[in-house]
Amino acid sequence: MFKKVLIANRGEIAVRIMRTCREMGLRTVAVYSEVDTRALHVLEADEAVSLGESEPSESYLHIGKIIEAAKSTRSEAIHPGYGFLAENPSFADACEDSGLTFVGPPASVIRDLGNKAMARRIMTSAGVPVIPGMMEATEDLERLLQEATRMGYPVLVKAVAGGGGKGMRVVSESEAMREACLSAMSEAQKAFGDGSLYIEKHLQTPRHVEFQILADRQGHVVHLFERECSIQRRHQKIIEETPSPVMTPSLREAMGRAAVSAAKAAGYVNAGTVEFLLDRSGQFYFLEVNTRLQVEHPVTEMTTGLDLVREQFHIAAGDPLRFLQEELFQRGHAIECRVYAEDPENSFFPSPGAVLLHREPAGPGIRNDCGIYEGVGVPVEYDPIIGKVIAYGETREASRRRMIRALENYAVLGIRTTIPYLIDILKSPEFAAGDLSTDFIERHFQGWRQSAEYADAAKIVHILHDLSSPAKASTGQEAHGRPTPWETLGDWRL
């Protein structure tokens, strides 16, 4: 096993990886940009190396600087987390060229599966069902228009190098196709350096069901059951759970087998996720393989009892898998909610700024993988995720109620977060019934507004705060134009 590991990431995922490193006795090296000098992942690491400017291309995406940081600290392995360089084959190559172990699949596998069209070809030849669509990507606009007409609308335009919903558009009529392709190309070019697109048939109200896989260097592959991630906004998951409310033993068996075949066909090593769309009739279609740890991996950890990051390090160090498929089982139910620094009342616009107050939820069955703390700034430069809350319960209903209880106790002030929005989704009868689909939010939560139920109570809090604030005397609030409570309340004791 390694002695020292560099974590080429920031925020909650860097902190989460460091926790396992500490438990395993691995020393950790953080990297950080100018704006992250006081970030939590820097404070949690054994060592920290500055990467310079905050711009991602100059810091967390700068392969040369990160390799240099690993060498200068004599790290033996690099864990990329998710996002940034996690699915960049050149980075995996650069690690190998420098004698560093990349904690993830080989560069060639990332390259093959990162090309969505190539991935579809691999899956087709392995007998894994794929969504009807183009088998190769193109930047030729006319060709895309022709294919869409041939396939019939609605279609899904996807960037060949895509991920996280970037460079992706649902197009329901031919008039909108040209503009959608142009904007998707530009977004993909900017985000991934490749503007090629391909088109898939757009399935109506499918569920997103994915399988966690683990594969060792010796060729053993197991799956760690499914996760349902149908609650998405902007094609980005915000609530995930396992088991899926519609899973049956036979469907699980079939999908799990397909996921393992997919991994084997691709020559997969380390932790990965095979994503499927599941339609109303129980048909499932391969979507893509994510060649990294997923944001939603904790729900699998909670229900299998495994630590996926620990398994990743064992596999990267060359150890064979420590269990067979038949030794794995799930117990109970887990739900994860992603907490973003975003304004859910304003099209989820990012809400960076200083975290003025941060009180984390606790209690039975609650885990909070969080990357912020009170007093820190949430920078404008990076993805707005600030953490994820996971609730475990013996049943889906127990974990749903537990999650509501936890989120209602998760106080964050200073930045807007998705917390009140998540609570309303969890409380909705549709979610409670497990009636999920990838267009759940469009169907039920469009134009959401925070309830005004507690607005009167909030005004009362303002008044009580105003009347009893110990900081009152020094804040110079005489501009109020009305007497202060010191003048009106007479004998006032704090």
Binding site: F349, L357, R359, P384, A452, V461, I463, L464, H465
Partner: protein, 173 residues
């Protein structure tokens, strides 16, 4: 003691009456009359019982107002009298929802129009990015691009007018 407090778009006139118990108040808001007892737990935490129902609330103050968290919701409570004073002081320039300005600190990624070009209300003018999300700022009304005050990769902040639009003057006939 009286307050005028605003949450969202709604402003309430509130009257606070003290009782013989300093930890107990009567608060009259519109047609409602609340019986409130409370304890200050810490600088940013209050415990209160409103009409028999106990709640713990977190609170902090910025120049924007009082930020309150309770029951999973967060509200910004503003003192309507103070907003009125501030707006009057800053004059008409505060009333600028029609300006093409980013809603938060961002970086310019694309400029979709050039100076002198005619634009229609709702037409995209400039694309900015913040936290990996792109947002297109649109023309607030029909008109002509008078001036572009931004360049690609420039960091911009709310209040910066990125594109100036000369409003189309309606002609007769």
């Amino acid at each position: 003691m009286k307050y005028r407090l605003k949450v969202g778009e709604e402003t309430s006139e509130i009257e606070v009456l003290s009782t013989e118990n300093p930890q107990r108040l009567r608060i009259k808001m519109a047609d409602k009359d609340f019986d409130v007892t409370f304890q200050r737990v810490s600088e940013d935490c209050l415990w209160m019982v409103v009409d028999g129902k106990a709640t713990k609330a977190f609170v902090t103050t910025t120049t924007a107002g009082t930020h309150v968290f309770l029951a999973g919701c967060s509200y910004l409570v503003q003192d309507a009298d103070r907003i009125a004073v501030r707006t009057a002081r800053r004059g008409l320039h505060d009333e600028t929802p029609k300006d093409v300005t980013p809603p938060m600190p961002s970086v310019v990624v694309r400029i979709l129009v050039s100076e002198g070009a005619p634009v229609k209300k709702g037409q995209g003018l400039i694309v900015v990015t913040a936290m990996k999300m792109e947002t297109t700022l649109a023309a607030p009304y029909d008109g002509k691009v008078k001036k572009i005050n931004a360049s690609i990769n420039q960091k911009v902040a709310p209040g910066d007018v990125l594109v100036e639009i000369e409003e189309e003057v309606l002609k007769n006939g």
